[in-house]
């Protein structure tokens, strides 16, 4: 959990930072992301709240308007629905509405996207929801390196940042490069990363879907197809340039996400490619792989069928490339 290490090291001497949310202090956070922070930094910097998302999001937003730098944790982003007015209408628009006089340097973070066995109301991706809104920056990290580098960037950012972590990825261990382990490591917001280079097709994904795309690429590699996997890292701003560059090389594009298809991240990417020169680099129409267009069911079989798997990616690539 790179987030914890980052905080325990970085918070010394930082001014105005505090984390607020349900059970972030004494209970160490619902997913133990804030473990040890309360013991180390105390009540002033790590604040447990009553169960009122609308309330503590408003309080955090107000604190940011007054010059502090809050990190507002949601137990999951599903609960942020109770507070979405504060995020979009207040945090996201205050800088604009105040004619640039009041900025809102705040990070809204918590797990997002499909989890396991928690069904319709607890298992969904809000990437497209927040990425839709000007005024917000939206980050959807995949690996430990992403989390460390981008959370740091988010905390330092003068604008409100929505930081969409993933519950399934909390339990995954990633190897970190020496560079990523260094004290000064930080990643720029709005830049994608090529997770796996390839030449036959571009797979664009974010969050846990990067893992699905990589699994697909692994299956394909055994069959002589080299897929390039792009980890978007940020959803707003979206790194269209990185995608265009890759498509110019591979001439094929598939987007992979766990969210729904309609007005989704994949839909946005395909529309942007259509609008630019990159369109002419495509040998086949680009395709979206998304979660099924239904609310998430609970039963294991149905849940599995409702989410794209590595095998689905491999199948779609082969279909697109007309390979048997």
């Amino acid at each position: 959990m790179p987030l914890i290490r980052l905080w325990t090291r970085k918070w010394n001497g930082m001014k105005g930072f505090f984390i607020i949310g349900e059970e972030v202090a004494q209970y160490d956070g619902a997913y133990k992301i804030t473990r040890g922070l309360w013991k180390k930094y105390g009540d002033k910097r790590v604040i447990d709240t009553p169960i009122t998302e609308m309330g503590f999001t408003g309080i955090a937003t107000g604190a940011a308007m007054a010059g502090l730098r809050p990190i507002c944790e949601f137990m999951t982003f599903n609960f942020a629905m109770q507070a979405i007015d504060q995020i979009i209408n207040s945090a996201g628009k205050t800088f604009y509405m105040s004619a640039g006089r009041v900025n809102v340097p705040i990070v809204f973070r918590g797990p997002n996207g499909a989890a396991a066995g928690v069904a319709a109301q607890h298992s969904q991706c809000y990437g497209a929801w927040y990425a839709h809104c000007p005024g917000l920056k939206v980050i959807s990290p995949y690996s430990s390196e992403d989390c460390k580098g981008l959370l740091k960037a988010a905390i330092r950012d003068p604008d409100p940042v929505v930081f969409l972590e993933n519950e399934i990825l909390y339990g995954v261990q990633f190897t970190m490069s020496d560079q990523a382990l260094s004290k000064d490591f930080v990643l720029p917001i709005g830049k994608a990363k090529i997770e796996r280079p390839g030449k036959h097709i571009t797979l664009v994904a974010h969050s846990n879907a990067v893992d699905i795309a990589l699994q697909g690429a692994k299956i394909l590699a055994g069959q002589g197809i080299e897929a390039e996997v792009i980890n978007l890292r940020s959803l707003r701003p979206l790194d269209t340039e990185a995608i265009a560059k890759s498509v110019a090389k591979t001439n094929h594009l598939i987007t992979v996400e766990q969210g729904w298809p309609t007005c989704g991240i994949g839909a946005e990417i395909l529309a942007r490619i259509m609008e630019t020169e990159t369109f002419f680099h495509l040998d086949q129409p680009a395709v979206r792989i998304t979660g099924a267009d239904v609310p998430m069911p609970y039963a294991k079989t149905l849940e599995l069928a409702a989410l794209p798997q590595g095998k689905d990616v491999a199948a779609a690539v082969k279909k697109l490339l007309k390979v048997k």
Partner: protein
């Protein structure tokens, strides 16, 4: 009589001046224009209507109203710790079969918890919520209602369903999301629901059931039904709780707002959740009649719910009941709470009572425990073995009529599924177990 009227007349004039001087009470002045009997009533109303929305009087002394200015709302109880009825007038005098059904349901609930909670710990189901310590709240309230009364639960109200006739097999099938789950494997474990039993399906987001319950109650005005809305004291921190209280009061809805106060919102203690005299004190401030009840005393909860239902139907008004349960959620309990837990376990209290009435003994207890455990284990084993729903279930019920885009998806899946048999067994079996 004449003298009395004169005196009232003088007072009326006094108030009339004050109202005129303050220049805001046209209404007051208008109703003072007549001196008939209605105006005497109007006077009394007026005397209390000096401020918009507040029935109060003037004060010339500056003084804060503090938490200690009021006596805390007392906790109503029927039984003492040893299961004796303290005031015989409050004994609901329930017949033997009902009392035994109460005891059996309460102790069964505890056994259901043990098995399903263990099953969650072992990863067989993804989620569980125990009902330990809340048995009297569930059963006491359920017994005072009819199956026609609509229940909005939060997620710790399975006792109400059991009382209404939901079977153990139905409970287990829901938790496993298997092919016989009446929820078709769509919902998380413990998100039970039954249209036949008027139990609205549990919804995960906290407190959303509260304004919804009030809305349902609005449609039940002037009928013989009420809505009972269960919520935890932590849930009362959500904005929806305020909306529910306020609308219940202003729209005069026959709803019983039933706050199960067990002292902890998962692991956040009440002292970090609210201040003052608790959720009960909010009732009167919203204009809602309120009872604070010993949640470990099944008869107290029964009497309270019965009275609340009668009142709600008669007056078309909302009620608030706040049973304070035993506190059992966190593992690391402060000592005073531990004491509360061991001394006031609701099932034990009722057992003392039925033993004293000569309705129960050690042999019956042993026999019942054995039977109830067996029943649960049988249901559990059967439920775990059942197949999961077929993948085609995924596409039903998104809309009433399946639209073309979903049909297209279904068609695509139909072609795709045989391609990856390992994942999408047509039998709907769990790929992990083959």
């Amino acid at each position: 009589m004449r003298v009395v009227i004169c005196r009232i007349h003088l007072k009326l004039r006094d108030i009339e001046f004050r109202a005129t001087f303050d220049g805001v009470y046209d209404y007051a002045v208008r109703i003072l224009c007549t001196y008939k009997r209605t105006s005497i009533r109007a006077y009394y109303r007026l005397k209390l209507l000096l401020f918009p929305g507040a029935k109060t009087t003037w004060s010339e002394k500056i003084e804060f109203i503090k938490m200690k200015s009021y006596r805390p709302i007392p906790v109503y109880r029927v039984l003492d710790r040893q299961g004796n009825v303290i005031n015989p007038a409050e004994d609901p005098k329930l017949p033997e079969d009902i009392v035994i059904k109460m005891y059996k349901s309460m102790s069964l609930l505890n056994n259901v918890d043990k098995i399903l909670y263990e099953s969650q710990r072992q990863g067989r189901i993804s989620f569980y919520m125990t009902n330990y310590g809340e048995e009297a709240s569930h059963i006491g309230s359920a017994a005072a209602l009819n199956n026609e009364d609509i229940i909005y639960g939060q997620y710790r109200e399975v006792g109400v369903l059991i009382w209404r006739g939901f079977t153990l097999q139905q409970l287990v099938d829901q938790c496993y999301g298997n092919k016989d789950d009446i929820g078709k494997g769509r919902q998380m474990p413990v998100h039970y629901g039954s249209k036949e039993l008027n139990f609205i399906t549990i919804s995960s987001p906290l407190s959303t059931q509260m304004p919804q319950a009030v809305g349902s109650a609005y449609t039940l005005k002037n009928t013989n039904q009420v809505v009972v809305c269960y919520f935890g004291e932590g849930a009362a921190s959500e904005g929806d709780a305020h909306a529910a209280f306020n609308f219940a009061a202003t729209l005069d809805c026959p709803v019983v707002l039933f706050c199960r106060n067990n002292g902890y919102a998962i692991s956040t203690p009440i002292k970090e959740q609210y201040k003052g005299d608790g959720i009960a004190a909010r009732g009167p401030s919203y204009g809602i009649h309120t009872l604070r009840v010993d949640g470990n005393d099944v008869f107290a909860v029964y009497n309270a719910t019965k009275l609340a239902k009668e009142y709600a139907i008669k007056e078309n008004k909302p009620l608030e009941i706040i049973p304070h349960q035993m506190i059992v959620l966190p593992t690391d309990l402060p000592s005073e709470i531990k004491q509360w837990t061991t001394n006031d376990y609701p099932v034990m209290k009722l057992r003392y009572y039925i033993e004293k009435r000569g309705l129960w003994d050690e042999d019956k207890e042993k026999e019942w425990m054995k039977k109830s455990r067996n029943d649960i284990l049988n249901a559990f084993n059967a439920g775990e073995k059942k197949l999961k729903p077929k993948w085609t279930e995924m596409f039903n019920d998104v809309y009433k009529d399946i639209p073309s885009n979903i049909l297209k998806q279904q068609d695509y899946m139909n072609k795709h599924a045989p391609y990856n048999k390992y994942y999408y067994s047509d039998l709907g079996s769990n790929p992990d177990t083959g």
